[in-house]
């Protein structure tokens, strides 16, 4: 049996960042102390998460009923294979992005600018993420969502420039509506079953009227699909992510949508295993993939391209979930792990590009391969990884999903297999376009092309002026680095990259390669996690003692 103190570690991924947030708020006048506190809190979370992965794998799910309430009452925190793995990956990502953000703050070479609220807010965000992964009941999951969303509202509007306020408004309102819908769903679940504990629900939901269960399932699915940015609920994402500061976008892109995906996995396997809704989910996955990637192909801004590929690749994960087989689930979990790392790496790289060249618009970028070779190598590796070039983890993740799809073998599953391949090729196309324009062509070519487009547009009509002002405004806002609000930085558009930022980005890209090297053990792990999910047994039996299992 497992050591008895291990379950007591389960709340620490939530507690450490919250404690860190309080401390960084208290020491807001001393940036050095803030950095030290944030880094140690998140390092602690990584350590705890790693321990939980080992324990959950060798001794089964680690459960803690917070405050020692009697079993079916109170709040349960559960770290099974899936949630501990998610926790480990997300804590590594948050730590690396934090290092990037600190590097960015220091490169701005004044200690005042990385606003004092960045560290506390960021730590609260990670606490919310951890709470969402560990939540053993539906309401605590809601609370986890709210904690991380609230922190994300602050981060996405950091500095309060016109553009950030505009895109932040969309984001906040969409998130608030989905939260309200989540509350409605929880009220419905409680009215129908008398509990919100996930383990208890998995027993009781099977016994209620299937029509009621379907309504509850669809409502929850809508909520989580909004969070995960599944088409047609994905329009908010490419609209709001690109304007936020680079580290913020990176961590949002890496983590926030995946929490929606995690919630869908949990819900489909634990709560509604009897109703896989295969056709519906497969169709949503298909549309998400194709429409997302077409969006990416049509964009000319690097951050927007990445935002659309993000949406598109959510479709892969949903594909795996929709198959409702062990292999599909395992493929989806592997894909989540791969995608969190690679998408974060790409957004960090786009942050570096933005600093180095002063823009992320492909119309103006050029010559980066010669000017910044390290940056170019990082982008190349991460881009090939995302598009699924063998032998990268992206390729392995996609192969896993394709095999699972072929195994199911229904006509729609075959359509999805083909669509997944097409999406992969289109991703390659979109990123190759970025490569050839921003990195490969010479700076002179870029300038000539930019002038040529400007001429054509100029003859066009007055609308060009409008477009130009908007673009200038957008860039000004992006220039205004992490904070400040006043776009003073426009004058010095190009700024040096600090070693810390490069290091963090390289580490993030390398994590993607580690996944490739460790793909065998990781696939075995996700397979075991998927077995647990499909069997539901270790989860329910370890959360609920025999007496209250009804």
């Amino acid at each position: 049996m497992t050591a008895s103190w291990i379950p007591n570690l389960v709340p620490f991924p939530v507690l450490l960042p919250l404690l860190g947030a309080a401390l960084t708020l208290a020491f807001r006048r001393s940036p050095h102390l803030q950095r030290a506190i944030s880094i140690s809190a998140l390092t602690g979370v990584v350590a705890v998460a790693a321990l939980l992965v080992v324990e959950a794998d060798s001794h089964g799910p680690q459960v803690l009923w917070v405050g020692a309430w009697r079993e079916p009452l109170g709040i349960a925190l559960v770290a099974d294979r899936l949630s501990s793995l998610m926790l480990l990956v997300s804590s590594i990502v948050t730590l690396l992005v934090l290092i990037f953000a600190i590097g960015q703050g220091q490169a701005n070479d004044d200690d005042e600018t990385p606003v004092s609220i960045f560290h506390p807010t960021y730590l609260v965000l990670t606490a919310g993420v951890a709470n969402a992964f560990l939540a053993g009941d539906l309401f605590n999951l809601f609370v986890g969502f709210e904690i991380l969303l609230f922190a994300s509202y602050v981060l996405i509007t950091l500095g309060g420039t016109v553009l950030r306020i505009r895109s932040g408004t969309t984001y906040v309102v969409v998130s608030l509506l989905s939260s309200s819908l989540f509350l409605v769903a929880i009220a419905g679940v409680y009215a129908a079953t008398g509990t919100v504990n996930l383990a208890q629900l998995s027993i009781r939901l099977a016994g209620i009227n299937p029509a009621v269960a379907l309504v509850l399932q669809l409502t929850l699915l809508t909520v989580f699909c909004i969070k995960a940015a599944v088409f047609p609920m994905s329009a908010w994402l490419p609209d709001s992510y690109p304007t936020a500061p680079a580290p913020v976008t990176a961590v949002f892109a890496g983590l926030l949508t995946k929490i929606g995906v995690y919630a869908i996995i949990r819900m489909q396997t634990l709560l509604f295993p009897q109703s896989p809704l295969q056709t519906l989910l497969l169709s949503a996955a298909l549309l998400t993939m194709i429409i997302g990637i077409l969006g990416a192909v049509s964009q000319t801004g690097l951050k927007r391209i990445l935002s659309f590929t993000l949406v598109s690749h959510i479709g892969y994960m949903l594909f795996g979930i929709a198959l409702a087989t062990t292999h599909g689930m395992a493929g989806a979990i592997f894909y989540v792990v791969h995608h969190i790392t690679v998408q974060t790496a790409l957004f960090l790289i786009s942050g570096l590009v933005e600093r180095f060249a002063g823009t992320t618009s492909l119309d103006r970028l050029g010559g980066l391969a010669a000017a910044a070779p390290v940056l170019s190598i990082l982008f190349f590796v991460a881009a090939m990884n995302l598009s699924g070039i063998p032998p990268m983890s992206g390729f392995l993740a996609k192969i896993g999903l394709l095999q699972a799809g072929v195994e199911v073998g229904t006509p729609l599953a075959w359509v999805l297999v083909v669509a997944a391949i097409v999406t992969s090729l289109l991703t390659l196309y979109a990123l190759a376009k970025v490569w050839s324009q921003a990195f490969w062509r010479s700076q002179g070519e870029a300038r000539a092309a930019a002038i040529a487009t400007a001429r054509v547009d100029d003859e066009d009509d007055d609308a060009y002026d409008f477009e130009l002002t908007l673009e200038a405004e957008m860039e000004a806002a992006q220039q205004a680095a992490l904070v400040g609000g006043t776009p003073v930085a426009v004058a010095t558009r190009q700024r040096p990259l600090s070693r810390m930022m490069k290091g963090a980005t390289a580490a993030m890209t390398a994590t993607g390669l580690v996944i490739m090297l460790a793909a065998g053990p990781l696939f075995a792990f996700t397979q075991r996690a998927a077995n647990d999910l499909m069997a539901r047994d270790p989860y329910v039996t370890s959360v609920l003692p025999q007496a209250v299992r009804h």
Binding site: F139, V143, E146, F150, Y153, V154, T157, G160, T161, V162, L163, I165, R166, S167, G168, T169, T170, V172, V173, V174, L176, L177, S179, S180, L183, V184, I186, A187, G188, Y190, A191, A192, T193, G194, V196, F231, S234, A235, W236, P238, D239, I290, I291, G292, L294, G295, V297, S298, R304, F308, V311, T453, D461, A463, F466, E467, L470, E471, E473, M474
Partner: protein, 166 residues
């Protein structure tokens, strides 16, 4: 267990009314109206928890009444949490509206720049630079497929279709 009890119809109607009115307000362009709408939705949802909690009863303090006459405390605890959260949200949104007003003199949510560009392209029937006009028949479907993800910005932004941005 409350499963066998009939829900209170008045509460259901009140909740539905609040959520409906709130939804209508959220569709508005002015951020303050959106905030008001979200407040109404929040209150409507809170009312739903009273329905979910089953019949009304005595205050759920240990020893103050027999357990089977008490009302269910769990939904009340949940809805209190939800109310606190929505209070903080409203505060944040009002700050956002104030900041928007500071910056632009109005609390109307501005158009998305990309969306405005796409609208202009649609108006002028422009094609993207990479589009080959030789492939006439596929034009509409192509354009639709490409534009779809960018265009709808949520109901509040997409509302005035004819309106020229700024």
């Amino acid at each position: 267990m409350t499963a066998t009890l009939a829900p209170n119809l008045t509460l259901v109607i009140v909740a539905a009314g609040l959520i409906a009115v709130g939804s209508a307000l959220v569709l508005d362009r002015s951020l303050v109206r959106v905030v008001l709408g979200l407040m109404l939705i929040g209150n409507g949802v809170a009312t739903l928890y009273l329905v979910a909690g089953g019949r009304a009863g005595e205050a759920p303090f240990v020893g103050s009444a027999p357990a089977n006459e008490m009302s269910d405390p769990l939904p009340q605890a949940m809805v209190l949490t939800a109310i606190v959260i929505s209070l903080a949200m409203i505060g944040f949104l009002l700050a956002l509206a104030y900041r928007l007003w500071q910056l632009s003199g109005t609390d109307d949510v501005p158009d998305d720049a990309e969306d405005a560009v796409i609208q202009r392209m649609a108006r002028d029937e422009e094609m993207s630079a990479t589009f080959d006009p030789g492939l006439e028949p596929t034009t509409t479907s192509d354009e639709l497929a490409v534009e779809e993800p960018g265009a709808p910005d949520g109901p509040d932004l997409a509302a005035p279709v004819g309106g020229d941005p700024q």
